[in-house]
């Protein structure tokens, strides 16, 4: 599986990529929307994990742009906003997009990635 991680917190996103690599998931990471779009244009990713609150292009906006380039792109949003209860209830889920609350449990992230891919 090849994933793209986008988050303005470099420490977070780089570490997450490293950890995913330990689990056999190849992860590219960038810290802003523009770079993310470049990556998307350059190659196909199975899943894109986007932070919602970012300087410049926000995660939501980035998601829309990605879908303009590749409507079939699977996306998981992660955010510091909201509580797990919201996601558990499934209220915020809509179609292809999934939401995860920070701090993320890596096992759950991988589970969601697999789920969304299938």
């Amino acid at each position: 599986m090849h994933v793209l991680l986008v988050d303005d917190e470099q420490e977070f996103v780089s570490t997450l990529a490293e950890r995913l690599a330990f689990r056999g998931i190849e992860a590219d990471w960038v810290t802003d929307g523009e770079k993310a779009l470049e990556k998307i244009r350059s190659r196909q990713y199975d899943v894109a994990v986007l932070d919602i609150k970012m300087p410049g292009i926000s995660g939501i906006k980035l998601g829309e742009k990605i879908h303009e380039l590749n409507p079939k792109q699977k996306i998981i949003f992660c955010t510091g906003h909201g509580s797990s209860a919201d996601y558990d209830a499934g209220a915020a889920q809509s179609g292809k997009e999934y939401y995860l609350a920070k701090p993320i449990k890596i096992d759950i992230l991988i589970e969601k990635m697999k789920e969304i891919q299938n």
Binding site: E11, T15, S83, P103
Partner: protein, 580 residues
């Protein structure tokens, strides 16, 4: 006492009810008093004017009635006396028919006739026979020989002119008599005068029967206002009536001249009537005291009507004003409560937003710590060298657990703040309770309070406003903590009634309890027993309002020294069209 309590308006005991606001109690009491005063003045002034007019009209009516009474009585008395005099004159005429002048000039015969006449005519004193020149031919008494000479010419002229004439005798001034003269010319052409003298005391008796109803005095006087009969107010016969009551006297009528309001005797009305064919006048008197007596009766009648009417009116005004001010007061209090609720909600909302901001900012570094710790764990797990270093692995696990814990707190904060905005959604009561308890757990530990949660596992998910329910539970839990300052046990029990489609959440503490007196006002806004401890007195009032919004109910049971139980009842489904 309970009746008094029942009729006392709510605002009256504002302070006793435990209101603790800037609203000054006396504002309402003063408004109440001012309004009663104002309406009373507006009502009672016209009522007073009406009463005065009514009184004045009654007074005039009584005066008219008394006037009429004096008129009728004086006329009747004059008529009676006229009849009496006519009878005398006629009887004197019969004597001249029965007896010739010769027989009448016989002293013995005249004496016999006089004796007979006296039997049927009370008060008959003398009988004389006079010739045309006024010379006494015969007399039953020789006493008046001289007196008749005085003014005789005038008297003779009147008798001759009118054939019958009644006047006073001029002899005894202290006891004047009435003299009736009859001029006769018989069949033989003989002319002479028959003169009878009457004791005027008889007239007094005759007039006495006209002293009826309101008439207090009846008297007879001559043209010089000299009394011929005894008067209750003016004295014995011979005395003069000291007031010029005859000056404007018509044939018959009343004198209501104010000059007759003599301060000493206070005569109000003297009615008078002329006796035709004489110079006599009958006078009747009504004094002011009689008028005042009648007026006092009228006054009493007015009072009998006006006092109860006034009292009724005043009671009505008090009742009406009390109702109006009570409405105003309750309206003010309600508005105040809404304002406070709004302020409180706004405050909570601000706190919520702040918490959300903080939570979000904390979440990002937490995520980094989490990932770094996770990486460490991965390194230790995937690199054999460290795999078996238990101490290292435990340390990393502890970091990850702490991050998870911190994450749970920030998630809760975010969830809580988001729920400040009203939104109806499906939620699990157990989860809401656990969320709230999660917030107060630390405080409970500090206060040495144990929390037991005992929920029915089959409790269904309900459709309600999660934020409002959280706020209610938080208020009740905080209240319970205040009641258990020295530690205790908070028990939360969740049950349900499938038939009624309702869930029940009981929050029980074994704290100090609430007195029955305070229990009555516990849901009143601003009622607080913790004012010194910073209680606003709004927590329960707001909770009560919120539970109302959720179409549920909030009940309380408490025993001082034993504890308090609040019971929240909520419908499975919050339907805004259903009643509470």
């Amino acid at each position: 006492m309970s009746f008094l309590k029942k009729i006392t308006p709510t605002f009256w005991n504002h302070r006793e009810l435990g209101w603790n606001t800037d609203v000054e109690i006396y504002v309402y009491r003063r408004k109440w008093m001012m309004l009663i005063l104002f309406i009373s003045v507006l009502t009672f002034i016209p009522l007073g004017i009406l009463t005065a007019i009514f009184y004045q009209m009654s007074s005039e009516e009584i005066l008219n009635e008394l006037n009429e009474e004096t008129k009728i009585n004086s006329e009747n008395a004059a008529l009676e006396l006229n009849l009496y005099f006519e009878e005398y004159i006629n009887n004197l005429g019969y004597i001249t028919v029965l007896y010739s002048r010769k027989e009448l000039t016989n002293q013995k015969t005249l004496q016999l006739i006089f004796q007979e006449f006296k039997k049927s005519h009370k008060g008959f004193l003398e009988l004389d026979v006079l010739d045309e020149q006024g010379k006494i031919l015969t007399s039953t008494s020789g006493l008046h020989q001289s007196c008749l000479k005085t003014g005789l010419g005038h008297w003779l002229d009147n008798v001759k002119k009118r054939e019958a004439y009644t006047s006073t005798s001029c002899g005894n001034k202290h006891n004047p008599h009435l003299v009736i003269g009859r001029y006769i010319t018989n069949a033989k052409g003989e002319s002479f005068i028959l003169r009878g003298t009457l004791n005027n005391l008889v007239l007094g008796d005759l007039l006495g029967k006209f002293r009826l109803a309101d008439i207090q005095d009846v008297f007879l006087s001559d043209s010089k206002q000299q009394l011929l009969t005894r008067s209750k107010y003016f004295g014995n016969p011979g005395k003069k009536v000291p007031y010029p009551f005859m000056e404007h006297l018509p044939d018959s009528g009343q004198i209501t001249d104010k000059s007759l309001f003599i301060s000493k005797n206070k005569f109000l009305i003297i009615g008078a009537s002329h006796l035709s064919g004489t110079n006599f006048t009958v006078g009747v008197v009504i004094t002011e005291s009689q008028f005042l007596r009648l007026m006092s009766r009228t006054t009493s009648q007015i009072m009998y009507i006006m006092i109860p009417a006034g009292v009724m009116l005043l009671l009505f005004i008090i009742g009406f004003v009390s109702y109006a001010i009570d409405r105003l007061y309750l309206g003010d209090m309600q508005r105040n409560l809404y304002m406070e609720q709004l302020e409180q909600t706004d405050k909570l909302s601000s706190i919520g937003r702040l918490a959300a901001g903080v939570a979000h900012e904390v979440n990002n570094p937490l995520a980094i710590i989490n990932e770094k710790a996770g990486l460490l764990q991965d390194l230790f797990t995937f690199v054999d060298e460290y795999k078996n270093d238990k101490r290292l692995m435990d340390t990393v696990d502890a970091i990850i657990t702490a991050v998870e814990r911190a994450g749970t707190i920030t998630h809760r904060l975010l969830g809580f703040s988001r729920k400040m905005n009203s939104s109806v959604e499906e939620c699990e009561p157990a989860q809401v309770i656990n969320d709230v308890i999660g917030f107060v757990k630390k405080e409970a530990e500090y206060k040495n309070i144990t929390i037991d949660i005992n929920l029915d596992e089959t409790m269904p998910r309900i459709i309600t406003d999660r934020g409002k329910l959280q706020q209610i539970l938080l208020n009740l839990a905080t209240n319970a903590f205040h009641a258990m300052d020295e530690g205790g046990r908070l028990e939360i029990k969740g049950t349900m009634d499938k038939k009624k489609q309702k869930i029940f959440i009981k929050i029980h503490d074994n704290g100090c309890g609430i007195s029955p007196e305070s229990l009555k006002h516990i849901f009143d806004p601003f009622f607080t027993t913790k004012s010194r401890a910073g209680g606003t007195g709004l927590g329960l009032a707001i909770s009560h309002g919120l539970i109302h919004d959720l179409k549920g109910s909030l009940d309380v049971e408490s025993t001082v020294g034993v504890g308090t139980t609040f019971t929240i009842t909520l419908p499975y489904l919050l339907n805004f069209n259903q009643g509470v």
